[in-house]
């Protein structure tokens, strides 16, 4: 059960991502899912003082998107610095759910599940 305070914080991050990040709007369901998972996970690592892996091309991509987003999070939402790692992961978990909901599960975009590009 997520606390209301964490929900409110996740809402702030969600508004930022909606307005700013193109990776949530890729062409197909699987691309969106991959981006949300990869970038939010990398952001979680960065926000908890760890370095996400940067070995494969996709890991480098997730890092590039996440590192810019995290810098903006820190600038726009100063509360994020004082959250402990478990809270960070909880808040980012809620963010991930919200992004999946709007860009995949309840998206009205009819092209998302075409098998071809």
């Amino acid at each position: 059960m997520t606390s209301p305070a964490h929900n409110t914080k996740a809402d702030q991050l969600f508004s930022y991502v909606q307005e700013r990040c193109l990776w949530q709007f890729f062409s197909r369901t699987w691309d969106r899912k991959e981006n949300i998972e990869g970038i939010v996970n990398a952001a979680g690592e960065l926000l908890t003082g760890k370095q996400p892996p940067r070995h494969t091309p996709m890991e480098k991509l997730f890092y590039a998107d996440a590192v810019i987003m995290v810098a903006d999070f820190r600038q726009r939402f100063p509360w994020i610095e004082s959250e402990n790692p478990s809270h960070i992961h909880e808040i980012l978990g809620v963010l991930k759910e919200k992004l999946v909901d709007i860009s995949i599960t309840n998206s009205k975009n009819h092209e998302l599940s075409h098998s071809l590009y």
């Binding site: 909606q18 307005e19 975009n109």
Partner: protein, 472 residues
Amino acid sequence: MPMVLLECDKDIPEREKHIYLKVDGEDTRDFLPVSNAQTIPGTLSERGCAFCGAKLVIGGVLKDTIQMIHGPIGCAYDTWHTKRYPTDNGHFNMKYVWSTDMKESHIVFGGEKRLEKSINEAFDEMPEIKRMFVYTTCPTALIGDDIKAVAKKIMQERPDVDIFTVECPGFAGVSQSKGHHVLNIGWINEKVGTLEPTITSEFTMNFIGDFNIQGDTQLLNQYWDKLGIQVIAHFTGNGTYDDLRCMHRAQLNVVNCARSSGYIANELKKQYGIPRLDIDSWGFSYMEEAIRKICAFFGIEDRGEKLIAEENAKWKGKLDWYKERLKGSKMAIWTGGPRLWHWTKSVEDDLGVQVVAMSSKFGHQEDFEKVIARGQAGTYYIDDGNELEFFEIIDRVRPDVIFTGPRVGELVKKLHIPYVNGHGYHNGPYMGFEGFVNLARDMYNAVHNPLLKLAATDIRVKEVVAYREAAE
């Protein structure tokens, strides 16, 4: 309530599904305009055709390639010179236009021999050019001319030439968007991987979906040069045919126009494992972000910060001068699709301009997801808008300036509302730091130009004639 049925659409109520007015608290789960759908009978669409999407937008940009249009002469003329994409080799693509000039007898008896003759004639006349795109058009597709067979025969007879065929007649899709799609998928399947590039840097990328409008590509290329990144292929601004055959060797695909070129980026990821990074190239804040992301990918963050500092030192003061004078202006964006979501926040954040209405000719629902997420409440989001709808929307939102094409631009000028060419630009480039100052300057000159107001005054009478007269 948020889907809007305009007064002018009362006899074509289906249009309601295409026009959205954003309200606070709503998002794209609640409403998303229907788009990339067939134009509704009874509305006069301003869309282009599928052939135009392939030729005018993507293929015709290349600087070393004959664009042979297999069809009546008008298909060639109408997709030539209406976009301004210069090149660094003397604007070869803008100087010449090629057509098989099909007439009735060729339609009756078949046009393949005429196509073969035209291809040979073009190569003979321009012996230094060895690359060609051949396009079908509506009539040659309908009579079943086999352009692939003709191209294959000529490539056997002339082994030094390479020809790519685009089988996308005007009727193939609901708008020019289909032409983007067909060309993207055709190119990746037939040409990518057929040539190996010379690698000159440890950092390589493709820059995808930028067409060098008034020099956009050339401006951005200065940044990539400074960062030490080799662009293997520009898809297709100032690009060459053979560079595009080498796209499989890049480490990263950077995508600007995801609508016209997202397909090839997706396929490059699927077929070759090259990741796709989407960026915005218009606006200071976006350009900084794009440079930072690209540099983070390659691990050259210091170079990126240095470049950003240099560019800000050169251009930020100028941008702020215009921002001070444009703050609070109201803007409408009526273009193809992606510029809606590329521009709405950049003009708001960098120039203090409020976007009050946006219309897309060929955007898909993905584009509307992006623009509604970024755009303001109280703004209209329109798919496949027509002239009467534009008049009505203008009455509702009263923009100070409209970014659109010359054709709609001439229309709104009659209402004494200034327009800036949102497709080919007034005085670009508009991308990058310098480019966005150019955009701001053109917007400033439009908004503060006294001529349009003076033109609304009929000096023969004492009362000022309302500008709405032209619409009545």
